[in-house]
């Protein structure tokens, strides 16, 4: 029953996507706006199908419908409620169903958002692209990765339950959906990028239309990655939060290109530059999400996070090839229309800083991509084994990270077009002094490693520079009588807050990795040991028995205060022992405890693994700041832009505020006008704030 309903839902969604694509395609090719409009309705079918399939799967999980193979493999009667729900995304086929649901949600939201312009061919093309992507995923769900496959014989009486590592921490309920919201969200800007190429309307309209969509996807991906790091830290038991594992890299790659795009898009909006580059970044971001899906779901790489081996890998490679060929082909075809009307005047300018930012992010992405794929390439070309692990990535990305800190500090202080030395001296004097004083203090405090000194110094520089911008913005709002809090709102100011979060994360990362200590202590009950300044007292063992979990705990008192209980657990019917760490977290440092060897008998000694790392908590605090900054950046700030600003010339005869549709509707090709000013689609035309 569940299987039948669910499978019908998937087929409904596939049919909706295919029909919608066919109708819109027909409308676009024959130039019938009414047909294009009618094609948008099919998004409802796609969403309905996805929702029906998801509900059917959740119902099957909750009612232990073991006639479905997926349910039997990923839930059991002992699995707690929460982990039964999350069973939806704890294996390959179910995770693709979640992917389909999120994509259907984005598709419907997009169609709803642009409903008043449904006849516009730009919106039509974008919807067509989303339909095609959705059709690909639902086709996967119909056959090669059908989550509703049933047993041909008698169904088993008991389920296996999800992977034991996925029953350990409630973050499993938030981290994957956040990640998916991020990955899949990039489908929207990608669709509009393709639409702008297909329609030949190469202005900035599509970017401004999709700005919040991109920002939302980026924020979700960022939070998803950080939550994943937090999950690893709390569950995997080695005290680390980032292992440069191929699957982690697969999530980082689109993040890097998307971050580059979020910056360089401002250059295009402001100056009309970097068009091909921005299109390439959007296409690359989407392609990298597909590549990541391929890597995690094809079994070509070995990773703790990877899904089981499956035969859908080649299909993802096919999609990847289609994305790259169509994207690059369209860019080549539109090449002449993409030429920028003017150039960058000076490397020492805001656009110069964005260019440097993009260079560094691209290099970062290249290093991560190469390091992730290199073992595969090497095996294919040279036939040998080579491992590219953390030492490679650390060595290669550390300098790039430091350069990014410099840019975070310098960039916001740079004016557009060209900076004078005096301006820069004035704006960067305080940050520079703060940085040098911190470096001197660190040296006085005993820090000798140059990379650490650079991280702390440049972190201070970047933080003070961005704080200065925020203070100035707050002061300016206050002077306007709007309340100083307005200085935190809007794209630029929210961006400064994001930068502060990044700096906090960078400093925490540097101190946790450089000043962490790890070791083992062997303690009998009642015994104490001092490890890296922390007193650990082994109180004694304990056992915990719940329907879902059987665990042996070690009760350890840390610094004479609270009791922490690292454990060795068995989940459900699984015979696999899982170490469950316990963490005494404080703003100064984390004491991370694991059981390395259980006591042989209750009075016997236990071997504890201990990791002490300073400032780890600030990784998560920085993440929260970053998320808050992204939210602030999404709120409309004070709009002072006039149509006469450099990149947005005035269209003769246009009615500035009567066109709620914004820029996409009209499509004057940008052209050179006087002093490098560009006539562009007038997105700022409508809805100006007072």
């Amino acid at each position: 029953m569940n299987a039948l309903v669910g499978h019908s839902g998937v087929i409904l969604a596939l049919a909706g996507a295919l029909l919608g694509a066919a109708v819109i395609g027909y409308g676009l090719l024959t130039g019938k706006p009414q047909v294009v409009r009618s094609g948008q309705v099919y998004a409802v079918l796609v969403l309905a199908g996805a929702v029906i399939a998801t509900i059917a799967m959740e119902r099957a999980l909750l009612t232990h419908d073991y006639s479905i193979v997926y349910v039997a493999e990923n839930s059991s009667r002992r699995t707690p409620f929460l982990y039964t729900i999350t069973g939806l995304w704890s294996a390959l086929a179910g995770s693709l169903l979640l992917w389909g649901l999120v994509l259907a949600g984005y598709c419907a939201a997009m169609v709803w958002h642009f409903r008043k312009r449904a006849q516009d061919s730009m919106v039509g093309w974008a919807t067509l692209v989303v339909y095609l992507v959705a059709a690909f995923f639902f086709a996967l769900l119909v056959s090669p990765a059908n989550p509703f496959r049933t047993f041909s014989g008698a169904p088993p009486a008991h389920g296996l339950g999800p992977n034991v590592l996925l029953q350990d921490n409630p973050l499993v309920a938030i981290h994957p959906p956040m990640l998916y919201l991020g990955f899949i969200g990039f489908t929207v800007p990608f669709a509009f990028a393709i639409a702008s190429l297909a329609t030949g309307r190469m202005g900035e309209g599509w970017q401004i239309e999709t700005r919040r969509w991109t920002l939302f996807a980026w924020a979700c991906l960022t939070i998803g990655i950080l939550l994943g790091a937090w999950w690893s830290y709390q569950v995997l038991g080695w005290g680390g939060f980032w292992g440069w594992d191929p699957v982690e890299n697969a999530a980082l790659l689109p993040w890097l290109t998307a971050t580059a795009y979020l910056h360089s898009v401002m250059v295009q909006e402001r100056r009309g530059l970097l068009r091909v580059w921005n299109l390439s970044l959007v296409i690359a971001t989407f392609a990298l999400t597909i590549l990541g899906t391929f890597l995690t779901r094809s079994g070509v790489i070995v990773s703790v996070h990877a899904f089981s081996d499956s035969n859908i890998g080649p299909l993802f490679l096919g999609l990847l090839a289609a994305v790259l060929v169509s994207g690059l082909g369209l860019i080549a075809w539109r090449g002449d229309k993409l030429r920028s009307p003017s150039g960058i005047d000076s490397p020492l300018s805001r656009e110069g800083a964005f260019l440097a930012n993009n260079l560094v992010f691209s290099a970062f992405a290249f290093v991560v991509l190469l390091g992730t794929l290199f073992p595969l390439l090497y095996q294919a070309l040279a036939g040998g084994q080579v491992t590219v692990g953390a030492p490679y990535f650390d060595t290669m990305t550390m300098p790039l990270g430091l350069v990014l800190l410099v840019l975070i500090g310098v960039g916001p202080a740079l004016p557009w077009r060209k900076a004078s030395r005096a301006t820069m001296g004035h704006r960067l004097a305080v940050p520079a002094w703060a940085a040098v004083i911190v470096v001197a203090a660190c040296v006085a405090g005993g820090i000798r490693d140059l990379a650490d000194l650079a991280a702390f110094g440049l972190g201070t520089f970047a933080a003070v520079s961005n704080l200065r911008q925020l203070l100035l913005a707050a002061r300016a709002s206050h002077a306007r009588g709007q309340g100083a809090w307005r200085g935190l709102v809007g794209r630029a100011n929210g961006g400064m807050v994001v930068h502060l979060g990044v700096v906090v994360i960078a400093v925490a990362l540097a101190s946790a990795t450089s000043f962490g200590t790890r070791g083992q202590v062997r303690l009998s009950p009642g015994q104490s040991a001092v490890f890296d300044g922390h007193t650990l007292t082994y109180v004694g063992p304990a056992t915990l028995r719940t329907p879902a979990r059987t665990a042996t705990l070690a009760r350890v008192r840390v610094d004479g205060g609270g009791i922490f209980t690292p454990a060795v657990s068995y989940y459900g019917t699984s015979t696999e022992a899982v170490g469950t760490p316990a963490i005494d977290s404080s703003v100064i440092d984390d004491v991370y405890l694991t059981i390395d060897a259980l006591p042989a008998h209750p009075r016997g000694p236990v071997t504890l693994g201990v990791v002490v790392q300073p400032l780890v908590m600030w990784l998560w605090v920085g993440g929260a700041v970053l998320a808050a900054g992204a939210l602030l950046a999404a709120i409309p700030g004070r709009r002072r832009r006039l149509p006469t600003d450099p990149a947005s010339g005035v269209r003769h005869g246009s009615r500035p505020s009567s066109d709620p549709a914004g820029g996409v509707q009209e499509s004057p090709a940008p052209e050179l006008m006087g002093a490098g000013a560009v006539v562009r689609e007038g997105p700022r035309g409508g809805g100006e704030e007072p």
Binding site: D245, F374, Q385, T387, P412, A432, A476, V489, G676
Partner: protein, 196 residues
Amino acid sequence: MAGTDEVAVAGEAGGAGESPGSGEPRRPSDDDIGSGARAGWRRHLPAVALVVLLLGSVTVALATSQSKSPSFERQALAIEHDIRCPSCEALSVATSSAPTAVTLRRVILARLRSGQSAREIEDYVVSRYGEGILLRPPSTGLAGLVWWLPALAALAALAALAVFFWRRRGVDVARPSDDDRELVRRARKERLGSAP
């Protein structure tokens, strides 16, 4: 939107354009400062003091760094980070608590104490577990490409940018013409109801 929310008139941004969202008062241009009250070398005094303090700190840090003769434990840790734990997927010997990792840690320390170099120990581990045991790929041979390709790509990109800016050197930043000013005036009038 607020990211680029300065009121700027076309072509005017050549000098001291303001930063985003800041209500910073307009600074005088460099010419004003250069010929102002603080003439000559004294103008550079703060910058010199800054550099001296920075270089001084770094020199102290380098001079007093104890990495000249690190302890066996320290050397062992450096090696352990570059060797994959044989029974794990990606963790290094340094971070894993798997029994094989614990054994390898002991072996590494013992071999260091017996006078072997890091290179010899790595060779020994490779002879036992194969090339794939090293987390840091070799810098020579075909596998060395993983190190050199990004460096080459970065150099190529930097060279391309340098050529780009060198070619543009001397290209005059376009000045607003009277037509532009008239356009701005008209647009502002249309939008604001009065010409500024």
